[in-house]
């Protein structure tokens, strides 16, 4: 049986680049096919029927025609435009950070429905004005889990001994916690407080509603951010550009109140 020429799919638009005068090359994440590239013809024209439906940070239903090299988006309907999020600089930047992570960590045509749902839920949470720090850390931890990089938090990743309630270390290279003894042989490991380890263990296994009940002090929040982003950067072997932008915004004291809504 031949493959159908058209297919319909939900998609989160990860990024877009201009292609020629009026077209856009989209990178989208779908539940059935994973990451895809597709052309939105005429999307830059003011009267385009695709226009706003194929902007990054949008959840749309797309009808796509198979092309010889690249597929072509023929129809679109917005399912959620995350309007609250887009009216706020800090939350928009948080959303763009999640899109960049998914784009960097995924390969084309490698589907993961759980990853799609994680990204969609995260965007809904950012849109609903929740606690962005917890939302982002929960997203990072579960993204690592779905990609097969779940950090080992139960025992020492080197000697397998049970961890004592003292300051241990996190090794991005070995993908987990090192006991105080093993940490001496791993110079790149970051010290990890007991509270940070407990929080990571809880978030790894609980749902978001439980995760958001954790009261994060600024020091603990910053420690969790450093550990998780350090691990993500180690796996990617490159900087995460949107993370650097979020840092700049923090220095400018851009927070949740900066926006039009």
């Amino acid at each position: 049986m031949s493959t159908p020429r058209n297919y319909q799919t939900q998609a989160i638009i990860l990024k877009q680049t201009k292609l020629g005068e009026f077209d856009k090359l989209l990178t989208i994440y779908t539940p059935e096919f994973g990451k895809l590239k597709a052309i939105a013809k005429g999307a830059c024209r003011p009267k385009s029927k695709l226009g706003g439906n194929v902007e990054p940070l949008t959840h749309s239903l797309l009808l796509i025609a198979r092309g010889r090299t690249l597929d072509i988006v023929t129809q679109s309907q917005m399912m959620d435009g995350f309007l609250e999020l887009k009216g706020n600089l800090w939350r928009t930047s948080c959303g763009l950070y999640t899109l960049e992570l998914v784009d960097l960590f995924t390969m084309e045509n490698s589907a993961s429905c759980s990853l799609f749902n994680l990204l969609l839920d995260t965007l809904h949470r950012l849109n609903a004005n929740g606690s962005e720090e917890i939302t982002l850390r929960y997203f990072e931890l579960h993204l690592l889990d779905y990609l097969g990089y779940r950090p080992q938090l139960k025992q020492c990743v080197s000697c397998s001994s049970l961890l004592r309630p003292v300051v241990n270390s996190f090794s991005p290279r070995q993908g987990g916690i090192l006991c105080a003894l093993c940490a001496q042989t791993e110079p790149t490991a970051h010290p990890l407080s007991v509270d940070a380890l407990k929080t990571l263990r809880l978030w790894e296994s609980c749902d978001y509603n439980t995760a958001r009940r954790v009261k994060l002090k600024p020091e603990l929040s910053s420690e969790l951010e450093q550990v998780l982003q350090g691990y993500l950067k180690y796996l990617l072997q490159r900087e995460i550009k949107s993370a650097a932008w979020l840092e700049k915004l923090k220095l400018l004291r851009v927070d949740n109140n900066c926006g039009t809504n």
Partner: protein, 200 residues
């Protein structure tokens, strides 16, 4: 062995570097110039050389110009208390065509795009802030494109200009003339409803 004379092959190669021009198109242009008169060919060559030699950025608004400051910034009849901020030099001519705007401009030369590593430092934002320091500017119109990068830039500008106490506005958003309501996206419709106006 090449079947085309070297000067023609060189011109074809140069034309094919231009956006939207493939090898066949480049060949067609080269042969067209070969057939055209010496004056026409020389006028084209001089126009290209002038473009690179005489064009510069205006030191005030950063629009492309052949004299510094540009005619818009020098024009005393224009309203110097309003600055319209645009992404790129080509955004100015559509605004000028309307004949409704009589203020000055400021060209950012890009938009903030965190994933591409383009942040405020890469744009002419610092220069915009120094223009606003004098106290003579009463309003800044943000005319970035209505897409995610344009909106991020607009929100950032709003954040850094607001403490100066200058009025900040942005171009109205909504349905373009000739569009169909049925196909409009949620964001556009939302903004069109918010910005609805009385019939005059």
């Amino acid at each position: 062995m090449s079947f085309v004379a070297e000067p023609v092959a060189r011109l074809v190669k140069e034309f094919s570097k231009l956006p939207g021009i493939g090898p066949k198109g480049a060949q067609r242009l080269a042969y067209h110039l070969l057939r055209s008169s010496d004056e026409e060919a020389r006028a084209l060559a001089e126009a290209i050389v002038d473009l690179k030699e005489k064009i510069m950025l205006c030191s005030i608004c950063f629009n492309i110009t052949d004299r510094d400051p540009c005619p818009v910034c020098q024009d005393e009849k224009r309203d110097h208390s309003i600055i319209c901020v645009v992404e790129k030099p080509s955004d100015i001519s559509p605004l000028e065509r309307t004949g409704r705007y009589n203020g000055l401009y400021h060209v950012l030369h890009g938009t903030i795009s965190p994933a591409q590593g383009i942040t405020a430092e890469e744009l002419k934002i610092k220069e915009l802030l120094s223009r606003l320091q004098g106290g003579s500017v009463k309003e800044v119109i943000i005319a970035t494109n209505p897409n995610i990068e344009g909106e991020t830039t607009a929100l950032y500008l709003q954040h850094i200009i607001a403490p100066l106490g200058i009025r900040i506005t942005h171009l109205a958003r909504g349905l373009p003339f000739g569009a169909e309501l049925e196909y409009a996206d949620d964001m556009t419709l939302n903004q069109a409803l918010e910005g609805r106006q009385e019939f005059e």
